[in-house]
């Protein structure tokens, strides 16, 4: 059994106009094969949000099966042969990706939303990537601002305030109200 390590939707997303209107389920699978192949080849791709998220499940499943069963397993090889249209990528799957993701406890793919273009068609685009790829990061590293002088002053003031009021806030249980009450009194 596969355990997906990212939120999965129960119903499949529709691929509108993937190969022309009314192209049918066969063309949908063909499109998915192309996307899976492209992702394994380039390790990052930019497409419509629905394409990315549908592709994600198949790639995750393929890598998980490859990790579990290895390259001596007939069913796994059959599956790899089906999804990877370019056959040299079968070697990449077992020789590069399996060692990379062996000890991962999280999903091995990442998805990022892209901003909608204005003016434009209003289609939500996204980026799907394999983790640990050689490309520069999509989201730039955020600087930790907690050590700035003003923030040090504020955090220590907050800590002192809580010490005096003996508040142990648990924000999950809706303690915001209690904090406000304490501040008002």
């Amino acid at each position: 059994m596969n355990m997906f390590r990212f939120p999965v939707r129960n119903t499949p997303r529709k691929f509108k106009k993937s190969f022309g209107v009314g192209s049918g389920p066969a063309e949908r699978i063909k499109k998915l094969q192309m996307l899976v192949t492209a992702l394994i080849r380039n390790e990052r791709l930019e497409a419509k949000e629905s394409y990315c998220l549908e592709t994600r499940g198949y790639v995750e499943q393929l890598i998980q099966i490859a990790i579990r069963n290895g390259d001596r397993h007939a069913e796994t090889m059959e599956k790899a042969d089906f999804w990877l249209l370019e056959k040299d990528l079968v070697h990449k799957l077992f020789k590069v990706l399996v060692p990379r993701y062996q000890n991962y406890s999280t999903a091995c793919t990442d998805f990022h939303f892209l901003p909608k273009k204005v003016p434009g068609s209003g289609v939500q685009m996204g980026i799907l990537e394999l983790k640990g790829n050689p490309w520069p990061p999509v989201v730039p590293r955020q600087r930790d601002q907690g050590h700035l002088l003003t923030n040090v002053l504020l955090s220590s003031a907050k800590a002192e305030y809580r010490m005096e009021k003996k508040i142990t806030p648990d924000l999950r249980n809706g303690d915001h109200d209690k904090l406000e009450q304490a501040a008002n009194t």
């Binding site: 930790d144 050590h147 700035l148 002088l149 003003t150 002053l153 504020l154 220590s156 002192e160």
Partner: protein, 352 residues
């Protein structure tokens, strides 16, 4: 209370004074010279400056031949190598060669990994980095800023009062930003004085105005004998100097800093110039009892640098916190000469 306050704060009086006020001041000085002459902060400051200038000129005279050193700068805008003058060029001079950004924002320099003042001459081939308030981890810059603010608070106390009040500065503790305020312990010679909000405001303005005068902090290592001569009018400092000198590397040197015409003892490092000050407030004056020096005033304040923005509501909230008595150790560090270990421990408590 209002009238009384106007008589205490010299700056405010002089600015709003009429001719008669100035005249009475003149008469008072004449009377003082004829009768028993009273020591004033102004005279002491003047004397210290003269000694400082003399000592600096003497030290500069040792450099008869200009030698070159190689300074390797690491960091933005780009890594580069500079050829500078040994014993003359400072990190600030290096920043002048590299870019205006570094001149304006740098609080401290790191020379071979050690914190170094912006206006302290470089003495050997070194690797140079510049630190500012928005660094990844601005701990060193924060400490330098907070220490500089304590130093400035000393200047405020010495200059804000009329000459009738001879303020004797004692010392300030190691900067601790989390305590919420910086501190200067001094003998104000004002018994039972609890300053009003207006008086505190007057004191704050003296510090705040330094932002526009943009004074540099100049460092000078002097011999203990010179330091004793410099601070002979101050009973606290003259007691502390032999102890500080004993702990120094050479065993007889004391580090003093000058900002404008104000000179004080501190280990440093301090920030580049007072132009980095954004808001400066004196928030409270508490009475504390030192077992060695007797009753002292613990003056507290809060300040933020130019590069960090803060909403006025938040600043006032922090000001409220800064009125509480700062828990820093009371100056007793130089009481006696106990075992070496305890000296080191106590030495950490007091910064100057």
């Amino acid at each position: 209370m209002f009238v009384r306050s106007m008589h205490k704060c010299c700056r405010v009086c002089l600015k709003s004074s009429t001719r008669s006020n100035a005249f009475s001041y003149f008469i008072k000085r004449q009377l003082n010279t004829k009768t028993a002459r009273k020591l004033t902060n102004e005279e002491a400051r003047h004397k210290r400056n003269e000694i400082f200038n003399e000592e600096r000129a003497r030290q500069l005279a040792f450099i008869t031949r200009i030698e070159k050193i190689q300074v390797e700068h690491k960091g933005p805008p780009e890594d580069c190598t500079l050829i500078m003058n040994k014993g003359l060029s400072t990190p600030f001079n290096c920043a002048m060669h590299i870019g205006e950004l570094l001149m304006n924002r740098s609080v401290l320099a790191l020379v071979n990994g050690k914190p170094w003042d912006m206006h302290r001459p470089l003495i050997e081939d070194c690797e140079l980095q510049f630190l500012h308030m928005k660094d990844e981890n601005p701990f060193l810059s924060n400490q330098a800023f907070w220490r500089s603010c304590s130093f400035i608070l000393g200047y405020v106390l010495e200059t804000a009062f009329k000459n009738d009040y001879y303020v004797e500065l004692c010392s300030f503790p190691v900067p601790n930003v989390t305590s919420g305020s910086f501190v200067y312990d001094a003998d104000l010679k004002l018994q039972d004085w609890s300053p009003s909000a207006m008086e505190l405001n007057c004191l704050s303005r003296v510090g705040q105005s330094l932002r526009f005068s943009d004074f540099r902090f100049e460092r000078l290592d002097i011999d203990a004998s010179v330091a004793l001569k410099m601070f002979e009018e101050n009973r606290f400092k003259s007691e502390q100097i032999p102890q500080i000198a004993g702990k120094s590397e050479t065993g007889s040197s004391v580090t003093v800093y000058r900002m404008g015409d104000h000179i004080d003892i501190t280990r440093g490092p301090l920030m580049g110039s007072t132009g980095m000050l954004s808001r400066f407030s004196v928030t409270a004056v508490h009475r504390i009892e030192s077992p060695l020096y007797g009753p002292l005033s613990r003056v507290q304040g809060i300040a933020i640098p130019m590069s960090l923005k803060l909403h006025y509501w938040t600043y006032e909230f922090l000001m409220k916190r800064a009125t509480k008595l700062n828990p820093a150790p009371i100056p007793t560090a130089f009481q006696a000469k106990p075992i070496n270990e305890t000296v080191n421990k106590k030495g950490k408590e007091n910064d100057n």
